[in-house]
């Protein structure tokens, strides 16, 4: 009993907050106990260093904080394409419970952060997917499920579906398996969260940077990205 109390005391000592400092100067223990991670390292600010921060360093610090918070509040757009989607209900419901990772379903692309592309995409779907992706507000992340999004999978020689999704929209993470089991899906979500935390899920920045290239590819496969059907006329 006595031993336990000692350990606790140690920890408490580390997390003493100097209230005269702004919130970014708070010690790392407040936000994360994974001190060895690069992100957490950023957050450790000693009294001396914080006084000598250049504007650039200050900005970086704010950014790492923003990454931390967006990684812990993710809204997933409920838009499913291929058969991989059948594993999402398990991931969402009580058995695997996606919400314990801080992820929730969202019905509209305008308020969603994550676009899950669950399998093959026909040209007709790809058009609507590009509409959807461009409507989402930034930062936004795309996860590709299964080999169908990677190289066409078992539909690699079909006239109807595209082969390589990252030619048309940027992908941050692929999840393996045809279809990926819920464990793999959850694992993938955890990986995505880690990527966002360290600021490496930068697909949406790539979409800005190479916009012309993406548009060119889209045009080559689709002819025209604009949708002409009964509902859009």
């Amino acid at each position: 009993m006595a031993k336990k109390a000692n350990i606790k005391k140690d920890k408490v000592k580390k997390i003493v907050i100097d209230k005269s400092k702004s919130i970014i100067d708070a010690p790392s223990g407040m936000f994360s106990d994974k001190i060895n991670e690069p992100f957490a390292h950023e957050m450790i600010v000693s009294k001396d260093r914080s006084e000598n921060l250049t504007p650039k360093q200050r900005k970086r610090k704010w950014k790492s904080m923003a990454n931390y918070f967006s990684a812990n509040s993710l809204w997933m757009l409920m838009y499913c394409t291929g058969c991989c989607a059948i594993e999402l209900p398990q991931a969402m419901t009580s058995r695997y419970d996606m919400e314990r990772l801080g992820m929730g379903p969202m019905a509209t692309p305008r308020q969603a952060d994550i676009l899950l592309i669950t399998g093959y995409l026909s040209l007709k779907t790809l058009r609507r997917l590009i509409y959807t992706y461009e409507q989402m507000s930034e930062p936004k992340y795309v996860v590709g499920f299964g080999p169908c999004t990677l190289n066409g999978g078992i539909y690699h020689d079909s006239h109807a579906v595209i082969n390589q999704l990252d030619q048309y929209v940027p992908i941050d993470l692929y999840i393996a398996g045809c279809m990926p089991k819920p464990e793999a899906v959850m694992n993938g979500f955890q990986d995505l969260i880690d990527l966002i935390e360290v600021g490496e899920a930068t697909g949406w920045k790539d979409y800005h940077a190479r916009y012309e290239w993406y548009k060119q590819n889209q045009k080559e496969a689709l002819g025209e990205v604009m949708i002409h059907d009964e509902f859009h006329e």
Binding site: K124, R127, G152, D157, S158, H159, A160, Q164
Partner: protein, 180 residues
Amino acid sequence: MMNSTNRPGMNEMVNELKARFNVEEVTFVQDHEAHVDLHRKDLHEALTYMKQNGFRQLSAVTCIDWPNEKIFQLIFNIYDWSKGNRFIFRVKIDREEAMFTTITNIYGGAKYYEREVHEFFGVVFEGNDSALKQLFLEQWDDLPPLRKDFDSRAYSDRKYVKREYKTSFGEKGGEPFERN
């Protein structure tokens, strides 16, 4: 395959059809299901007759491509809910000049089936102008894809970027995996 069945309504219906129309062949696939090959001129009258006699549901319209015989075979699948019987009418049309008269004034639901058959096989249905519009394949730029002479893989290779791998998988032709 059977030549007759004891199911109520089936034999009577087949006999009626044989008496009235130019029926080429009848095969019973199951107790409650018969395939009827008809001459294409008789199809509309036969469908009208069937609809008046209980077959109120059109379950599907589809098509089979026979490139060697140079024909398309149109398939009309109808169902009688009161008796649980199913009839499948098949007619042959010319492959080069693939035209048929619409059945939308008998079964309204055929509108979209005909549109699909037009899209995937290129069959034109006279009297159903909406069938000429695109449905699944938007801005399609090749042969209708379910024709047998359409090469799906060549189209895919031409149109979609393939991922390139530095390692070649399977070049060794399935060399046995060594266990230790």
